[in-house]
Amino acid sequence: MRRLRITAYLAAGAVALGACTTASSAPTFSPPASVGVGEGALTVLGWPGYAEDGSTDETVDWVTPFEDETGCEVTVTTFGTSDEAYRLFTGGDADQFDVISASGDASVRLVAGGYVEPVNVDLVSNYADIFASLKDQPWNTVDGVHWGIPHGRGANLLMWRTDVVTTDPDSWGAVFDPDSPYAGKVTAYDAPIYIADAAVYLMATQSDLGITNPYALDQAQFDAAVALLKEQRTVIGEYWSDYTKEIEAFTNGDSVIGTTWQIIANLMGDVPVKAIKPVEGATGWSDTWMINSKTTHRNCAYLWLNHIVSPTVNAQVAEWFGEAPANSKACEETVDPNHCTIFEAAETSFWDDVYYWTTPTKECLDGRGDICIGFDEWINAWTEIKG
């Protein structure tokens, strides 16, 4: 039943593509033409820190104002990884969660499985102010159909302890070196999507492999990335998937160099660290707010989408979580006036060599056809790499 719907959407989208010039035209299924009065309730499935309602910190709350304004009573559930999000959203109750903040490595799978519905971006007035480079990307737009509203973005950076690592590295080679002087203290992100980081490095160092998109790897390219990671395994001290673990590891000296998020570097306190985007570029993430295809609270969902990317709220979220906001007007609203500069929010070339997380599929994302390796193989390989 769901498969039928999604094929219909994509077909409709393909037809619409020819007739549309801007991406903000409505797709030809039946999204609402307008947003009505809120239905009174909304369940949000989001990254921790994205939908704060005061329960984490009394002063950090953009949910209660939303509830007061719209009458939509919000229940927030959080998750730890994209994969957990996918499992929560798709397992169990079909309409349990109304909206989800999906990273690129979950959003496409949700679309493919028919779990989310296209979003009429005309109904989200703040969509117009979102940075253009976040719109119409493969993880939030399929065949011209918009499947969600961009939330914010960040890059995976290279961080090191400046008091241990004496010469500042500028390349990912520092973590891929099997003869590293910091063997046993190197760290990496614990998810199959990290294979793309190896691919990014290979793009620069083994250009004869011909990788153009680190998420579109054919067998030979994939094998090279896996081989590189197996080599890296010998110097890895630990992998991290929740950021308190990495903060602790760097503070206590268990890790001295590895992949990180900006928020982690900021939270290191007086521990001397530095974080950069190496010369080869980096993987990154850009999250999308999506609506459950089985939702019974569509109006509240659209109201939430508009609320969360409004300038004030988007600024609050970006500062609390530590990422670049999606709304260009949010930069004027951040408490720290340098926030957008630090996080490179405005359209700078910083993002040119950042490859946002997106789900690898058998059908190559760079258009080469059916020869790429799908995500299930990435998961399988990741188990093998960790050993």
Binding site: R3, T81, D83, E84, Y86, R87, T90, G91, R109, A112, G113, G114, K185, D190, A191, P192, I236, G237, E238, Y239, S241, K245, E248, A249, T251, N252, G253, D254, T361, K362, G374, F375, D376, E377, I379, N380, W382, T383, E384, K386, G387
Partner: protein, 300 residues
């Protein structure tokens, strides 16, 4: 206590009494009523779920949509047996479980013995409380505490530094240490109960027959306490076999639980997770049968 009822032969006995008589005459009906709820629950809610899971082990998923494709086949089992990493992980998990069982047994026995046979009743009561209390401190908090203890700049290295030694850091040894710590109460309590049950008269008889303390321990107490040790080992073994949180926090190695969890969480590949789950299920069923043989079920 109430006076015996049915003293008046003319009045009809109460409903309760008639019901009691009914069940007394029909033990089968009584048994059915007693057994139906728990048996029904366990068979339907639990065995039924397990059976459903194991049926899934023969299916596969569509890699794009992660829907389960109900076409039976052996592909999951083939992959499990072909790829070396899954064998390595299974062996590593079982060996750790054995090591943890041994270390907890060694640590638990002296303290259980002291509690059961040497401590005054008051001390014994306090010690039972002391053993039970850590079970109320959250499992996660304890593991995180060990993360801090074992860290590079953590308390263990700091304490060993004057001796010129270092702690094990994170890794397989850390996992063994943490599991030993976590499951210790589950081993102490059954052994304590088992030792407590040994009648004093047996020990007196043993010394009357000329056995010294160590001989009595070796030839009377240990054999009698053995079922209790096996009972405790059921917990230490099974809890180690399936855990994925502790290995993730104090090491970067993968255990059976880690694989199952990531297969379900990352790819929604329930069929493969189910297939790999047959490994710990089979191991535990065999272990339980052995344990029952050794009398552990009476000692739980």
């Amino acid at each position: 206590m109430t006076a015996p009822i049915a003293s008046d032969p003319v009045s009809r006995p109460s409903v309760g009494r008639r019901l009691a008589a009914f069940f007394h005459r029909r033990p089968r009906a009584a048994l059915a009523v007693l057994l139906a709820p728990p048996l029904g629950w366990l068979l339907i809610a639990y065995i039924g779920s397990l059976a459903l899971l194991l049926v899934n082990a023969f299916f596969r998923i569509d890699p794009f949509t992660t829907d389960i494709v109900p076409e039976p086949g052996l592909q999951n089992f083939e992959r499990m047996l072909d790829q070396e990493v899954y064998r390595v992980i299974a062996v590593r998990t079982v060996l750790t479980a054995v090591a943890v069982t041994v270390s907890t047994a060694i640590l638990a026995f002296p303290i259980a013995y002291y509690m059961a046979r040497k401590a005054t009743p008051r001390i014994r009561g306090l010690m039972v409380v002391a053993i039970l209390l850590p079970l109320w401190a959250s499992y996660l908090v304890k593991v995180y505490a060990w993360r801090v203890i074992l860290a590079e700049d953590g308390i263990l290295n700091w304490a060993l530094a004057p001796l010129g030694l270092r702690g094990p850091g994170f890794g397989d040894v850390a996992v063994w240490l943490v599991f030993t710590y976590l499951w210790l109460p589950y081993m102490i309590l059954p052994i304590y109960a088992g030792l407590e049950r040994i009648p004093d008269s047996l020990l007196e008889a043993s010394s009357d027959l000329g056995a010294r303390g160590s001989t009595t321990i070796r030839r009377v107490i240990l054999p009698l306490a053995f079922p209790a040790v096996v009972a405790g080992s059921i917990f230490t073994f099974s809890l180690t076999l399936g855990d994925y949180i502790a290995p993730q926090l104090v090491s970067s190695t993968q255990f059976i639980g880690s694989v199952i969890y990531s297969q379900v969480g990352s790819s929604g590949n329930i069929p493969f997770a189910a297939a790999y789950a047959t490994v710990p299920i089979l191991i535990m069923v065999v272990y339980l049968l052995l344990a029952r043989r050794l009398g552990a079920f009476e000692a739980l």
